[in-house]
């Protein structure tokens, strides 16, 4: 991840580089409800580091190339499908994320997963990968 860390994040305020990295959510100062990403209104939403470990809440595989724009991912022929889903972060919120490092056949609701940062073109984005991997396969 040494190279990746020098890349600019895909959006400001989306995640904290760490180490260890964490997504930044917004806690509603009145209700305590947490949302992701943190809304710009910091008078109402306090930025908070979200748990890095969670469980897959739902998942799918994107089998066809998304229309571009807005999609800014790699243009490959043939298109390389990618997994995405929702990850339940205990006590906080359920976030939508790309799922990297899982075999598609192994994806399952309830699977433990851990946040990672990874290059997306010439920028840095976030994804969740298997929790039992010490090093991230880049």
């Amino acid at each position: 991840m040494a190279d990746a860390a020098t890349l600019p994040p895909i959006a400001e305020g989306l995640f904290d580089l760490g180490p260890p990295p964490a997504l930044i959510g917004g806690r509603d100062r009145r209700s305590g409800r947490i949302v992701f990403p943190c809304p710009a209104d910091h008078d109402r939403f306090e930025p908070v580091r979200l748990p890095r470990e969670g469980r897959i809440w739902s998942w799918t595989v994107q089998r066809f190339p998304p229309k571009s724009p807005p999609y800014a991912g790699p243009v490959e022929t043939p298109f390389r499908p990618f997994a995405l889903g929702y990850v339940e972060l205990p006590g906080a919120v359920i976030v939508e994320s790309r799922l990297e490092g899982f075999a598609f056949e192994a994806l399952k609701v309830g699977l433990p997963c851990t946040l990672r940062l990874l290059p997306f073109g010439d920028r840095l984005t976030y994804a969740f990968g298997p929790s039992d991997e010490e090093e991230q396969p880049q």
């Binding site: 739902s58 807005p70 800014a72 990618f82 995405l84 906080a92």
Partner: protein, 380 residues
């Protein structure tokens, strides 16, 4: 409060009609509905209509006639038709009009919809990283549901198989050829667990209805289909909707649950009273989940219902008897009214080869982004 009747129904076939604009299709449907009701355009006192991508409904007056009537445009996404019907029924109940026209039409370009993050108040990275696709939302909601309640992929296939079988019997449908289960299951995977044949496509089409007060319906000597309930609801906290970068841990019901309960209450009926139902089937899983959200079965029972063919024509509760969105495609502005049109045909006993024997109560449900549902209950 007066009862409201549907006394006329017209449709322009769904699918692709090159050279005919969406608005023109709407005019054709409107004329068909007027003729079906045996009334003339100048008799109509108020009109409601809309499309998502084919222009303003009120410009139809240029073709139908400049009678000076109030004509309100409705823009409520997939629930446009349901919202127009709700508005017209309320105008009649309020005594504002005794004869109303409702029209929904659309004409979408080929391929899936192409939303931009800014139009939805979402950050650019959400679209850039490939997470802003409607098909993903359907797959994600469905996957969670399947793993929670034991629904298997073959059940999704059975929904699509039924849709195409029914579409073959409906003259207004787009897909008129049956497709076998194996072909559906083995077709290209789009977003797991949904294959190509399990998704509907944007299409074209138009539907119009003529609504009348009970007194007006009697005066005209019409054979009415009664609007027992026309309800629209938006989402409660915790509902799972399209384009959500995050969801609350505390999950809540869907807008469909709210709309369905309210509609049954207004109608003084329950799910067991319904003879035929048209449920939003943007994809196979939507029909499965909407069977439970509308109160027709418990979560998970769909597996047995589909295996036993209970939602086929001739089954205990036929669902989407004209093939639904899967066979008709989804012209957004027209889709909800197509469901009502189909129920009108069923309750009149005029549905031909797809007739549900003895249908007296018809239920229709449309759902759309960003979380609203419209439910209509009709009775003969």
């Amino acid at each position: 409060m007066t009862d409201v009747a549907i006394i006329g129904a017209g449709i322009h076939r769904f699918g692709r009609t090159d050279g005919v604009s969406g608005l023109q299709q709407g005019v054709i449907a409107a004329r068909a509905a007027l003729a079906d009701a045996g009334v003339e355009w100048p008799d109509i006192r108020i009109a409601f209509g809309g499309s998502a991508a084919a222009g303003n409904a009120d410009t139809m007056v240029a073709e139908l006639g400049l009678t000076g009537l109030p004509f309100l445009n409705v823009a409520n996404g997939c629930a446009t038709g349901g919202s127009a019907l709700y508005s017209a029924a309320n105008a009649i109940r309020a005594g504002e009009a005794d004869l109303a026209l409702v029209v929904g039409f659309d004409k979408h370009p080929r391929g899936s919809f192409n939303p931009e993050p800014a139009d939805w108040g979402l950050p650019e990275w959400y679209g850039e990283t490939g997470m802003m696709l409607t098909t993903q939302f359907f797959a994600l909601k469905l996957r969670r549901y399947m793993e929670s309640f034991g629904i298997t992929p073959v059940t999704l296939g059975r929904v699509a198989e039924k849709a195409f079988a029914n579409g073959a019997l409906a003259p207004h449908a787009w897909r008129r050829e049956p497709v076998d289960l194996e072909t559906i299951m083995n077709s290209q995977m789009v977003n797991d667990p949904l294959t190509k044949f399990m998704f509907c496509s944007p299409s074209e089409g138009a539907v119009a209805l003529v609504l009348a007060s009970a007194a007006k319906a009697r005066e005209l000597g019409a054979t009415p289909v009664w609007v027992r309930a026309a309800v629209v609801r938006t989402r409660p906290p915790g509902s799972f909707e399209v384009f959500s970068p995050s969801l609350d841990l505390a999950r809540g019901p869907s807008p469909t649950v709210l709309a369905s309960r309210a509609a049954f209450e207004v109608a003084g009926l329950g799910p067991e009273d319904v003879d035929v139902a048209q449920l939003q089937d943007t994809e196979s899983g939507a029909e499965i989940m909407h069977m439970a959200e509308n109160g027709f079965c418990a979560d998970g029972e769909q597996e047995a219902w589909l295996a036993e063919g209970r939602t086929r024509i001739g089954g205990r509760l036929p669902v989407n008897t004209d093939g639904g969105c899967l066979a008709c495609g989804e012209p957004i502005g027209a889709s909800g009214l197509r469901q009502v049109y189909e129920n009108v045909m069923q309750l009149r006993g005029a549905a031909g080869a797809r007739q549900v024997e003895g249908a007296r109560i018809g239920y229709s449900h449309v759902y759309g982004a960003p979380g609203l549902s419209a439910v209509t209950i009709l009775a003969s």
